[in-house]
Structure formats: C-alpha cells, structure tokens
C-alpha cells in the first residue's frame, strides 16, 4: 500500500488563481481530512469527509471547497488564492467504524506559497 499520497509537493500561486490539491489513499478508509499548518503552529482542520458524497466543515473552511466522489480521493479546491492561504496542507485518513484507538494516517503534505 502506498498509504496517503498528495500532489503536488510544492506550488506557487499568484493571488486570485485557483488550484486543486490532490489526496488519494489506497487503504479503503472512509474518513478523510484536510488540515493546514502555518509556520510554527499546530494543524487546523479545514474539511473532512465520512465517506463518498459526504463532507463537512472543520475549523477553518473559508476559502476552500472539497468533494468526495470516490472512497480513494478527497481533493481540496482553492478558488481565489490569497496570501493568507500560504501554508502546508496535510491530508489524512482513518477507517470507518474505527474504535477511538484508531489513529490517523497522514500524507507527506503540500507546501503552498501565494504571492
């Protein structure tokens, strides 16, 4: 298993541009998450999904959109990039019905710079 993969690894955007951060997991996990991590800070939850077709907002959803058409993929969309969205983005997953002792599996992250 490749686990959780994210693309691209790094991207520079101009203000107002749009892009999609890709996240794929091959572990058949139902729950998937998008976090952002600003320099020197902890992770903040942007959106999460409990399964295909079901998504919900996290702590900081403004400026982002998500979709979940398959179990494997959970893309994050930035419509109008702003400098405040400069951050490192992590995708994570966890299996459905997991006992609380299940842990999250994280991807390697996407570093985004908005200029």
């Amino acid at each position: 298993n490749a686990g959780v993969t994210q693309t691209p690894k790094f991207r520079i955007l101009k203000i107002g541009q749009s892009m999609t951060l890709q996240c794929t997991q091959d572990m058949n996990h139902n729950y998937m998450y998008w976090y952002r991590q600003d320099p020197g800070m902890g992770l903040k939850l942007i959106y999460y999904s409990v399964g295909a077709g079901i998504t919900d907002k996290g702590e900081v959803p403004n400026g982002y959109n998500v979709s979940r058409s398959t179990t494997e993929d959970f893309p994050l969309r930035l419509e109008l990039a702003a400098p405040s969205q400069t951050s490192v983005y992590f995708c994570a997953s966890i299996p459905w019905g997991a006992a609380p002792r299940e842990t999250q599996y994280f991807g390697p992250g996407t570093r985004l710079l908005v200029l």
Binding site: Y31, G42, L43, K44, Y48, V50, P100, P108
Partner: protein, 113 residues
C-alpha cells in the same frame, strides 16, 4: 471536543528521559488520548495511545492518572533524532456522524548534544 494544553517548548540533552505533560480537563468518557510526533516538512505520525493507567511500546510510555484529566508522554533516553514537535490529542468516538480531531500547537522538543 476536549481541549488540550501542553508546554510550548522543552529542551533536553541526549540520553536523558523526557516527560511531556498534557492537560485535558474536559475529557469525555469515550475519549482516548493519542500522541503524535512531527518532524519538519513531514506529516504527523502516531507514537502512542491510551485510555487509562500506563501504556508502553518500543518508542515511549504514556501515563494517565485515574481522573484522566492529564497525561504524560515519557521518552526514555532521547537522542538528537527525537527533536520534533509532539502533539497530544483527545479523540471522540468515531461513528456515523463523523470525527473531528483538534490539534493544539504541540510541544517543540529540542534535544541537545
């Protein structure tokens, strides 16, 4: 969601034991306590998890008192490679209504030679 409080940073020397304490006063009955480690430019990775008393694995020990309002991650004989940020999470039960993990700022551990 249970909020957690940890020291922002800690320094230690190689070979010492390091104890990082996390406070979670409003922990719920179904909540487990999980610790993650994060190296620069990497995603967090699981270290240890527990519900009560003591848990030990090949990497660390986790001590949880009877009231479960705090927990202590213990790293025995740290090395330079243990320099990282350590996060304490208190997780709600995973069910059909979803799950929501809250990461605090974590504790930045610096191990010195």
């Amino acid at each position: 969601l249970a909020k957690t409080t940890q020291p922002i940073s800690m320094d230690s020397y190689e070979g010492q034991e390091v104890n990082i304490t996390c406070s979670h006063n409003n922990i719920a009955t179904n909540d487990y306590i999980t610790w993650y480690q994060q190296f620069p430019s990497q995603g967090p990775r699981f270290i240890i998890q527990g519900y009560k008393t003591k848990v030990t694995n090949e990497v660390a020990s986790l001590f949880i008192p009877a009231d479960r309002k705090s927990s202590t991650l213990s790293l025995p004989r740290v090395s330079l490679s243990d320099t990282a940020v350590y996060y304490c999470l208190v997780g709600a039960r995973v069910d059909n209504y979803g799950q929501n993990f809250v990461f605090g700022p974590g504790t930045r551990l610096s191990v010195l030679p």
